[in-house]
Symmetry: C2
Subunit: 336 residues, 2 copies
């Protein structure tokens, strides 16, 4: 059994009120009593129960976080910066990993409600009516980080996917590429998939380049799907001279596929990634990528959430961060 405030009071020879006061750093406690209390605390190894405190203060200092895949370097990097910001502000993270299991998400949101978390951060793009309704009913700040589900009324911290994809494609065009393949993301539940695809298409048409649908494929943002989609593309009679994959993971998958076909990046095919994950520096050749400010994303998300918590007002205004093209070695000028 852990010691309780009553034990401290007894040992120190004061009332629990007084112990509580020195615990909470109030003034109006005589130095000698304070001393005695602190001694008793040390002696007993007392640590106040956060549980009891939460109950009376009506404040838990808990944030619920839903991650689609902890093993993804993209999400775990965001989570890491969220954790840092939380820790700095004396908040603790309840972390839930959802792998393709929307029921688990619902279950966890329920748990979050029971735990009385003060806010929720979701990095999962799939969300159904039931979850939406539950979140609304809970009436606490919710913020989406790095994703923006369709038709939703919650705030997202996100980049301008359309423009980022447009700029990435434009860069390839400026390198002289005209057959530019595309490995897109999910087109159903998430706005990024559609916006990045639009950005790609419009960049091409704005530069009067014909869209070759044979060279357009859609994956699920993961390495394996990048590999598979690239394999498909390589089967075409006329393979593109450059491929733009809308995640670094898929880009690396594509690079590996190219390597396994004994072709070379970037000499045979240039590859452009998206995200700015650790893989960009790990891959050989190093991956040129349209980067999201991953580190900032977590920080900004927490800041926005804490602001909502503090001001007791929910906001549904998206926060748009800047994307940035980082040129490395995987894209070169096309020989013309």
């Amino acid at each position: 059994m852990q010691p309780k405030i009553k034990d401290v009071a007894r040992v120190a020879g004061v009332s629990v009120t007084t112990v509580s006061r020195v615990l909470n750093g109030e003034r109006y406690v005589k130095d000698d009593l304070k001393e005695k209390v602190n001694q008793a605390i040390d002696q007993l190894g007392y640590a106040p129960s956060h549980i009891a405190r939460s109950l009376v203060r009506n404040k838990t200092n808990l944030i619920g976080v839903i991650v689609p895949d902890l093993t993804s370097s993209f999400y775990s990097t965001i989570l890491s910066s969220i954790e840092e910001a939380a820790s700095t502000n004396d908040y603790n993270l309840l972390v839930c990993n959802i792998i393709e299991d929307i029921d688990k998400e619902l279950k966890y949101i329920n748990v979050f409600q029971e735990m009385r978390v003060e806010g929720i951060i979701i990095m999962h793009e799939k969300i159904n009516e039931e979850i939406r309704a539950l979140i609304h009913k809970m009436n606490i700040p919710v913020i989406f980080s790095s994703v923006k589900p369709m038709d939703q009324e919650f705030a997202s911290v996100i980049i301008d996917d359309y423009k980022a994809a447009y700029d990435a494609t434009k860069y390839l065009i400026e390198l002289g590429h005209e057959e530019i393949g595309f490995i897109g993301g999910d087109m159903r539940d998430i706005t990024s998939g559609q916006n990045r695809y639009s950005g790609y298409r419009n960049a091409l048409s704005d530069h009067s380049i014909k869209i070759i649908y044979e060279n357009i494929r859609f994956g699920d943002y993961k390495v394996k799907s990048g590999y598979e989609q690239m394999k498909d593309i390589l089967r075409n009679k006329q393979t593109p001279t450059a491929v733009f994959a809308v995640s670094d993971d898929m880009a690396v998958g594509a690079m590996n596929c190219i390597w396994d076909h004994n072709l070379r990046v970037p000499e045979d095919i240039s590859i452009m990634g998206f995200d700015g994950s650790q893989l960009t520096e790990l891959a050989r050749p190093r991956l040129t990528s349209m980067e999201q400010p991953i580190q900032d994303m977590g920080k900004v998300t927490m800041a926005a959430l804490l602001k909502q918590i503090t001001n007791k007002e929910t906001s549904n205004e998206d926060i748009i961060l800047e994307h940035k093209l980082v040129v490395r070695e995987s894209c070169i000028r096309r020989d013309s």
Copy 2:
């Protein structure tokens, strides 16, 4: 404000005791009352306060987890399987990320104590006297996953590092290599560093191969240090024909360094990794690695912890899991 049990009781026209009973699935509640209560719960969107429950039940269903680096694919994979096991058993995870900051670790252990977590999982190898003392005082189950700090009396879930390193080295020897470089890990705080190093050395001497200290370097398990240490090794007059790095991250760093020097893996230098992380399949050539059962590690850790929690007895017996050599493409027979 969230509705409370009192509100439910009022709406349903029963006592709070009755509401509590249907909440906890007790028998001895007449069907019509149960019905009314459930209706009231739905109507109000009531979810019982886990905080209040924890206080009275003296049980939080919380586990504290300390990860050294969330962005590492090794640790995040273990964390992911820990999370899965926790969720299955209705436990929630309080996650703390420690990056080289031992004070933060102490702070978090304190938080864990205040939160009255029922158990703690630590994947961090650095631990000082203060932390050790605190953990002991808390008197709750603590288990180390994938690491075993020196001189400690807590249980670890771990592989036989000595034997694993021995076997990996032996494999390289059997491929005909005689100059086998080594990129080791931290030799101070963690037993794996020393045990893997011993395994490597003994494998060599058991096969009458002279140890060349020039080709032995120590990193910090991360990609970058693998790169740097390999750079050092390549500066030597006689470079090894194979290098064994005691983490896949360092192995990939070494491979990248070799690539950047316009040498080839495995034709010029074979590379053996350690861990079995995602990188093994991502790298090109694919990385041959002495693998830990990463997925199992999380599962086994949680199982052991839950057992201790349930039986209210702490154990300090290590659990040793099997290592396994997975041959891919980065090691080949030496031309002799």
